[in-house]
């Protein structure tokens, strides 16, 4: 009896140890020691790019082989230009890369080397990537990998797919469309142009250049979704800018009918100073001293942003305005009119 009790106690003890060491409540029967099988041979398809440094652009980067005959996709930068770029394969072979095509809207470039029978990665749409998913990025960060050394690998968690307002070296970042945001640190020199892999080891994105988010002033770790890579390789033109251009008919300017308080040249909050009687603003119930804080969900920080946002509206469109009135938030719908 004594022995039995000891065994039972041991069993309970072992069970709790086993339960505690099962990380992240994975299903039983799961090996957790490595993502190596997921990365597979991806590193064999990643090349190192070298060129001349220009200004604050680093003279090195990463590219992904996308065909057995030596097509390499990478991000657009001064590194890949008409003078060509030096390409070093994972086996150490060196080639002169010829720039075949670029796409400024997608920030992508296609480079060709004269070689055959190479391993390559086929881009796979990132559409089923969900928050929390494991992602892995490969790249020539800080040009640590030399000669026949393979590039470096890091692992992180994917968060969200979102448009990103960003700057690059004090200029606006021209990419249009969504990016993939994750927490692996790829905002490093040389990382751009490397593949982002999902938990199946599929090539779901291309790591982008180092940029700073306008909303945080910090460097963002992101990738261009593979859909854009696929479309680029297929020769599709990039989508036009998502923001509609100013109305084609210059005589039909959008009109709301509020005058904002302005203090000289200073950026001031969008306080309503006057509402024209009978105007769309008056119809919607906007009042003097309201503060316009958002139009169609987009935040309005100051009078200039208000002007820019209104210029984008189309006459006849019904747009939600978010106002601060005293300590209240008031939502109104403005039917945009035509400037008299």
């Amino acid at each position: 009896m004594q022995r039995r009790r000891t065994i039972a106690a041991c069993a309970t003890c072992l069970m709790s140890v086993a339960a505690a060491t099962m990380p992240l409540r994975a299903a039983p029967g799961v090996r957790t020691d490595s993502v190596a099988p997921l990365i597979g041979g991806a590193a064999d398809c990643v090349v190192k790019l070298y060129g001349t440094a220009a200004g604050r652009e680093h003279g090195y980067g990463t590219g992904v082989l996308v065909s057995s005959d030596g097509r390499i996709v990478t991000t657009l930068s001064l590194l890949v230009n008409l003078r060509g770029v030096r390409v070093v394969l994972p086996d150490g072979r060196r080639f002169e890369g010829r720039l075949e095509r670029i796409d400024e809207r997608r920030q992508l470039a296609l480079v060709k080397i004269e070689a055959e029978g190479l391993p390559f990665l086929a881009p796979v749409p990132a559409t089923d990537l969900a928050g929390g998913d494991t992602v892995m990025a490969l790249g020539n960060w800080f040009k640590i990998a030399e000669g026949n050394e393979p590039v470096s690998v890091c692992k992180g968690v994917f968060s969200v797919r979102t448009p990103l307002e960003a700057r690059r070296l004090a200029q606006d970042f021209d990419y249009i469309g969504d990016v993939l945001i994750y927490d692996a640190l790829t905002a490093n020199p040389g990382a751009a142009g490397g593949p982002l892999l999902d938990a199946r080891g599929r090539f779901v994105g291309l790591v982008g250049k180092v940029i700073e988010s306008v909303s945080t002033n910090t460097r963002i770790n992101y990738a261009i979704p593979s859909e854009e890579v696929i479309a680029f390789l297929g020769g599709e033109a990039a989508e036009p800018p998502r923001e509609p251009a100013a109305p084609v008919d210059p005589s039909r300017k959008p009109y709301v009918g509020v005058k904002l308080a302005k203090l000289g040249y200073r950026h001031v909050s969008a306080y309503v100073e006057r509402v024209r009687p009978g105007s769309p603003a008056a119809e919607a119930g906007i009042r003097v001293d309201d503060l316009i804080i958002a139009i169609d969900g987009r935040r309005i920080a100051d009078a200039d942003e208000y002007d820019a946002e209104v210029a984008r509206l189309l006459p006849g469109q019904v747009v939600p305005f978010t106002l601060k009135r005293g300590a209240e938030i008031v939502n109104v719908e403005v039917k945009v009119g035509v400037a008299p």
């Binding site: 039983p28 090996r31 910090t218 938030i329």
Partner: protein
């Protein structure tokens, strides 16, 4: 216990052990599938945790305000960081509209603060108070029936447990979430836990959560002791992030609710190391615990003056703990707030005294006495050596403590 029960029990144990020990002959495809299954399970765990906290997270938008002013030419380098437009993150602390965020999010002193709940409703928020030590801010919105976050009791937080740093700073539809572990507890004189999850303006003010979606701490930038409104932001995404656990929030919550800002508390003295006097050294050899820190000069008015401390006094202990050098005393005082009382053991000539000092904010402390010739040298010595972990404390200023 019957045999049948025992057998069932052992079968369980064996089944659980089988998880870890697979036969080595498994083929590559199986290994890849197992590795993928694990990542899938992990992703699901993260998603569930984030989904559990999401209704308690708010997006903070601000209008107006200016960049914080860099304090003097020798201010900390972080203050060259320019605060962006946001949005930033906050956390529902109560069901009736109390919101906890980071003071970093309000470094620009915005004129208007609005808060967007996870259901899209917007409210005007009032900033009740800031804690410059824990880098917290408390806001209130006029709303009810909100989903206050669930917290992990501080005593249950373990180094090594998974942690997820969540934030709305990208303004995206879903929160940003970075996975890491708890790297340390009781950091910065016990006010913070440390994580290697990526923290940045994207999630300052947001929750660091466990896999159940419970809050381990509120994510804040903290670098060294003291520092300006932006100290610590230079460490963003570095793998060294900080969060304030619930008990350390509760320490100051009632004061913050009353609208009291919490500022670093100072004594109002210039500190200097003990002179290397042969007699002193002999004394120290005899009584190793009697090292201390000399008061080189007093500010007037100041807490030191009110407590009748004198230039030349040697501080031996703080709250019953011996003090061996200036850096140690500064570090131990760095999380004390104005309005708190501390007890110093002080040696004055041949006497030792216990002196209670009510700490005051730097703005309530007057100019320093001009130290005498020899003491002036001592005041300069009060500077910490470069590279000390408190190096972004403005130690070059005599009002250091």
């Amino acid at each position: 216990m019957t045999h049948a029960n025992l057998h069932r029990c052992l079968a369980w144990v064996l089944a659980l052990f089988a998880c870890g020990a697979r036969p080595s002959g498994t083929c590559a495809a199986d290994v890849a599938e197992e590795a993928r299954q694990f990542e899938v399970a992990k992703a699901r765990a993260i998603r569930n945790a984030v989904a559990a906290i999401a209704p308690s997270m708010v997006t903070i938008e601000t209008v107006g305000g200016a960049q914080p002013v860099r304090q003097g030419m020798r201010g900390p380098v972080e203050e060259s960081f320019r605060v962006a437009d946001g949005p930033t993150t906050g956390l529902l602390l109560s069901n009736d509209g109390l919101i906890l965020a980071s003071s970093f999010n309000f470094a620009r002193d915005p004129s208007i603060i609005t808060v967007r709940l996870s259901d899209g409703r917007r409210f005007v928020a009032t900033l009740l108070a800031r804690d410059q030590i824990r880098r917290l801010a408390l806001l209130r919105i006029e709303a009810e029936n909100l989903s206050a976050a669930r917290w992990v009791p501080a005593g249950e937080i373990q180094v090594g447990q998974y942690s997820i740093a969540c934030g709305h700073g990208l303004g995206a539809s879903q929160p940003f979430a970075s996975l890491g572990i708890v790297s340390a507890v009781g950091r910065r004189n016990g006010i913070a836990i440390q994580t290697d999850a990526k923290t940045s303006p994207i999630n300052y003010g947001g929750p660091l959560i466990d896999l159940d979606g419970r809050v381990l701490g509120l994510i804040v930038p903290i670098a060294g002791a003291g520092g300006g409104a932006l100290a610590g932001v230079g460490w963003y995404d570095s793998g060294i992030g900080f969060a304030i656990p619930r008990d350390r929030v509760d320490d100051v919550l009632s004061r913050l609710r009353k609208g009291e800002n919490i500022e670093p508390g100072k004594i109002g003295v210039v500190l200097a190391p003990l002179e290397e006097d042969p007699l002193d050294e002999m004394f120290r050899d005899l009584f190793p615990s009697t090292r201390g820190v000399r008061i080189a000069a007093l500010a007037r008015p100041s807490p030191a003056e009110r407590a009748e401390l004198q230039a030349g006094d040697i501080i031996l202990e703080l709250e019953g703990r011996p003090i061996s050098d200036v850096a140690e005393l500064q570090r131990k005082l760095s999380d004390r707030a104005a309005g708190e009382k501390i007890v110093l053991k002080v040696k004055r000539r041949w006497r030792t005294l216990d002196v209670a000092v009510l700490l005051a904010a730097p703005k309530d402390i007057g100019p320093f006495d001009t130290p005498e010739e020899e003491e002036e040298a001592g005041a300069d010595d009060a500077e910490l050596p470069p590279g000390d972990d408190d190096s972004n404390q403005p130690t070059t200023q005599p009002e250091g403590d």
